[in-house]
């Protein structure tokens, strides 16, 4: 992966080209900080900090997955929490039947998320604009209600896992720090995969289809296929986040896939800056840390959070990455 692709994309978009620091430095800095955090945290409250940061990284995976189709594909999926749910329930349901192997659970989580993405994407992508937003929203709700009616898997109340997933039959990710680094590895892989996809042939077709689908057809592409594949990839990566989420909480419930959760995922992406991938990581961190802080200040923190969201939308277009790199958001 060369830095040249980013450069070309930014230059081509007529935006000010972010400094070299913005292109490579910000993600490198973020990942270095995340890699070192457990060492820094040894001073005190390690457990709390690691679990908070693990949560941040898990949601960052989901946000990056969403950014892939939202920022680069222009597809506003308002049902992405469903994939979190699928990933989480894959863990919950399998482990309630005694299948606790991480690789089996992960394979099922990814497979089920991918299948759900392809099935619902095939219908949703036939529609455009606001219809797409609403349909993805509705499919997400459909799964939410399915989960609440799964009486044998806890229904509304959800179900508690006996333990975290086992790796080669052993409790390798049981400890806070081990789990932290497992999540870190998943995030790093997701990010690198995302970077690669965006710069690849596939990514270029995806970006072109976002900007002008008719043009893409006129040069021989069928945007639908590429968008569907991107939707599938995004769904699977979000399923991965769901798999990790269930493992962190050792608990699974329909609350993972409320439509509000889907909205929060979109907000994370926008907050960080659309279409830059590491922006999604920053956005997830800013969102969850702010939530954590405000919730400590008042139980009515959402009365601060809601207006804050409105202010970001109205005044801070481009999100955190926009502020850092002087990049405008694409129109």
């Amino acid at each position: 992966m060369s830095g040249g692709a980013d450069f070309a994309a930014a230059a081509a978009a007529g935006r000010p080209v972010p400094s070299r620091l913005g292109r490579l430095g910000v993600p490198a800095l973020l990942f270095t900080l995340l890699a070192l955090a457990p060492l820094l945290a040894m001073a005190g409250a390690e457990g709390y900090l690691l679990s908070l940061l693990s949560r941040v990284m898990i949601f960052a995976i989901a946000a990056i997955a969403l950014d892939l189709i939202l920022g680069y594909g222009g597809l506003v999926s308002f049902g992405h929490a469903a994939f979190l749910g699928i990933g989480a329930y894959a863990v919950g349901i399998l482990s309630s039947h005694g299948i606790e192997d991480a690789f089996v659970q992960l394979a099922v989580a990814l497979g089920a998320s991918g299948l759900f993405a392809l099935a619902t994407g095939a219908i949703s992508l036939r529609t455009k604009g606001v219809y797409f937003i609403m349909i993805t929203l509705a499919f997400g709700q459909m799964l939410f209600f399915l989960a609440t009616s799964l009486a044998s898997y806890g229904g509304d109340d959800g179900l508690t896992l006996a333990s975290k997933s086992l790796i080669f039959g052993r409790k390798l990710i049981e400890g806070d720090r081990a789990f932290y680094y497992a999540v870190f590895a998943c995030l790093l892989v997701t990010y690198i995969l995302g970077r690669s996809i965006v710069a690849s042939r596939f990514g270029r077709v995806l970006r072109g289809s976002r900007d002008n689908p008719v043009r893409m057809e006129a040069i021989g592409f069928h945007p639908f296929r590429y968008q569907l594949a991107a939707y599938g990839i995004s769904g699977m990566l979000t399923g991965l986040a769901g798999f990790l989420l269930a493992n962190q909480a050792e608990f699974v419930s329909p609350a993972y896939m409320t439509w509000q959760r889907s909205g929060e995922l979109i907000f994370m992406v926008i907050l960080g800056g659309l279409g830059s991938l590491h922006g999604a990581l920053l956005g997830a961190a800013a969102f969850l840390l702010l939530e954590e802080y405000l919730a400590g200040v008042t139980e009515h923190w959402k009365m601060i959070f809601g207006p804050l969201l409105i202010v970001v939308v109205l005044f801070a277009r481009g999100g955190i990455m926009g502020i850092l790199g002087g990049r405008g958001r694409r129109d």
Binding site: K128, V130, A138, M142, L146, I266, F267, V313
Partner: protein, 306 residues
Amino acid sequence: MTPTLLLVQVLNGLQFGLILFLIAAGLTLVFGVMDFINLAHGVQYMVGAYLAAAFAAWTGSFWLALGLALPTALVVGLLLEILVFRHLYDRDHLDQVLATFGVILFLNQGVKFLWGAAPLNVPMPDLLSGSIPLPGGLLYPTYRIAIIAAGLGVAGLLYVLVHHTRIGMLVRAGASNAPMVSALGVDIRRLFMGVFGFGAMLAGFAGAMVAPILSVEPGMGDNILILAFVVIVIGGIGSIRGAFLAALLIGLVDTVGRTLAPTLLRLFLDPSVASQTGRAVAPMLIYILMAAVLFFRPSGLFPVRR
């Protein structure tokens, strides 16, 4: 299932469908006229219910409460329009979705702040608290019949308003060509504000009407909002007629489906499996219905030409 029981379910479905219509009508009008997607429409329904509850507790009369709740819901809607929504009309749908999501977070928490998290109850007006015998001997609550009547009344009123008045003509013209309407010398901002306030009031009316039969609680508008979206997507965004038919369809399928699905499945499966599968499938029915409609008609049943 006996025919009478089915009749009860159909009436329930009709009542639910008409409540859905009251909410969906405002949503589809606002979208049709302003190309504005308003997630906060559901909380306006909740606000209507809370206002009815608060005024009922204050005045002791359901009718007074309803009379006070309507204009207050209108004011709340207009206030939101001025403070937030009007700054979003020329933004893309993504921005609109997010900002109105922020409004939801604020108002859901706001009612909790003001009235607490516990559900409120609104006493049913004496006049409508009785029940009506159905053929077959069962009794059906008068209040639900009243909701059906009110819903049909509002639907009729809306039809006349949209199709046979000058304002309605402007609204319809504004939906397909806003610049032309402003070229006619109409203040498009005031038209937008009017449509918005009206939509908010309809949702508030729906909330106030259901307050006596549902518990009034934070977040009560969230799930019904999604159903209203399903309604306007199936009906065709911007179409009042589509919203009306789709609302009734969704109301009936959802209500009747929940009782009928387990019964029907019992023909193929053993009873315990049937009832469990039925209960799992029933809430998904309307989404499957929506998917099916959109598969064949990606712009809904009554697409509005724009």
